[in-house]
């Protein structure tokens, strides 16, 4: 299966990279842009059936892919047909 994992800075936690990106967008003339937040987008292929894969991806996120102190995560699974 294919998993898509989205890791985002927790609301309320400082996101300097997001701020810097917002500043850069403004200086390029993109006005009216705000609340820019920078996260990670991780895709992977995993062998197994949906229930099992769900549990494992959740484990991966908690153990490694996201830092629970400052980040949230969510993920989606799909059949990996596009591959």
């Amino acid at each position: 299966m294919q998993a898509k994992v989205y890791v985002t800075p927790k609301a309320g936690v400082l996101d300097p990279a997001g701020k810097a990106t917002e500043r850069a967008l403004h200086s390029l003339g993109f006005v009216g842009v705000h609340d820019v937040r920078l996260g990670r987008y991780i895709t992977m292929e995993i062998d197994g059936d949906p229930a099992d894969v769900t549990a494992r991806v959740d484990d991966m996120c908690r153990q490694l892919l996201a830092n629970g102190v400052i980040e949230d995560y969510r993920f989606e699974l799909a059949e990996s047909s596009e591959q």
Binding site: V13, A17, A20
Partner: protein
């Protein structure tokens, strides 16, 4: 905090320096400890769980495992870290510099996290620090409020934590060093990476685990005119030799 046996006396203290793949300052740290500071620096390999009887542990700078996902995130799972975590939990002294600080935060041994500098650029410079506390094992040789000049070199050194954590560590006095200007003020201009409250280094609740972004190990010999880093190591040496007193 674990008290070393009294009368460790004049024995040469042994410091374990962990090498992860991608550690960079590990050899420099062993050199500073052994050839300059009067310790014995003991290299610890990331695949080895044995601490070889060291008195304390240092996690050096670098880009462990390339630091590709998040700095420090992958190193935390190295076999040696299980033992380091156990050592820390039982009160042993652990210090993390730069990447070592990041690893300690990722491992949950220190509060907060380190993220991209607000400039989005790597920054290397000699900066002023203010020592907020000298009653820790790591700063006993400093005066309270003393100003030091130390090198920094990092791309992800912006210290962040949620509001509750930040309030708690400030109230507990866990902030040990802050970035200041030449006059000792915590100005925004003196903050090289955007860290909350100009925080450069913190200790854990128990006071035996310490991490900071500046590189004490590169400021021991007076090269490039920098020598204040030696104070952190001298502090640890006295603390260990005095049976756990600063």
């Amino acid at each position: 905090m674990r008290r070393p046996r009294p009368g460790a006396g004049s024995r040469v203290m042994r410091c374990g320096v962990v090498s992860f793949p991608g550690s960079l300052d590990d050899a420099d740290t062993v050199h500073a400890l052994t050839d300059v500071l009067g310790f014995e620096g003991v290299p610890l390999w990331h695949k080895d769980r044995d601490l070889h009887g060291v008195d304390w542990i240092l996690l050096p700078g670098g880009f462990s495992y390339g630091d590709y996902l998040r700095s420090g995130a992958l190193a935390r799972f190295a076999p040696v870290m299980d033992t380091v975590i156990e050592f820390a939990r039982s009160g042993g002294l652990v210090m993390g510099l730069c990447n070592g600080f990041q690893v300690l935060c990722e491992a949950g041994l220190l509060p907060g996290a380190l993220v991209r500098n607000r400039s989005m650029m790597f920054v290397c410079d000699a900066v002023h620090l203010r020592v907020e506390r000298n009653d820790t094992p790591f700063t006993g040789a400093c005066e309270p409020g003393e100003r030091l000049v130390l090198p920094i070199k990092h791309g992800e050194g912006c210290y962040v934590a949620d509001d509750a954590t930040l309030r708690r560590i400030e109230e507990n006095g866990q902030v040990v060093v802050r970035y200041v200007d030449a006059n000792g003020e915590t100005t925004d201009a003196a903050n090289p990476n955007g860290s909350l409250n100009n925080i450069a280094g913190v200790v854990n609740d128990a006071g035996n685990v310490f991490g900071m972004m500046p590189h004490a190990e590169h400021a021991c010999e007076g090269l490039s005119g920098l020598r204040d880093g030696a104070k952190f190591f001298r502090s640890v040496d006295s603390w260990l030799k005095n049976g756990g007193r600063a």
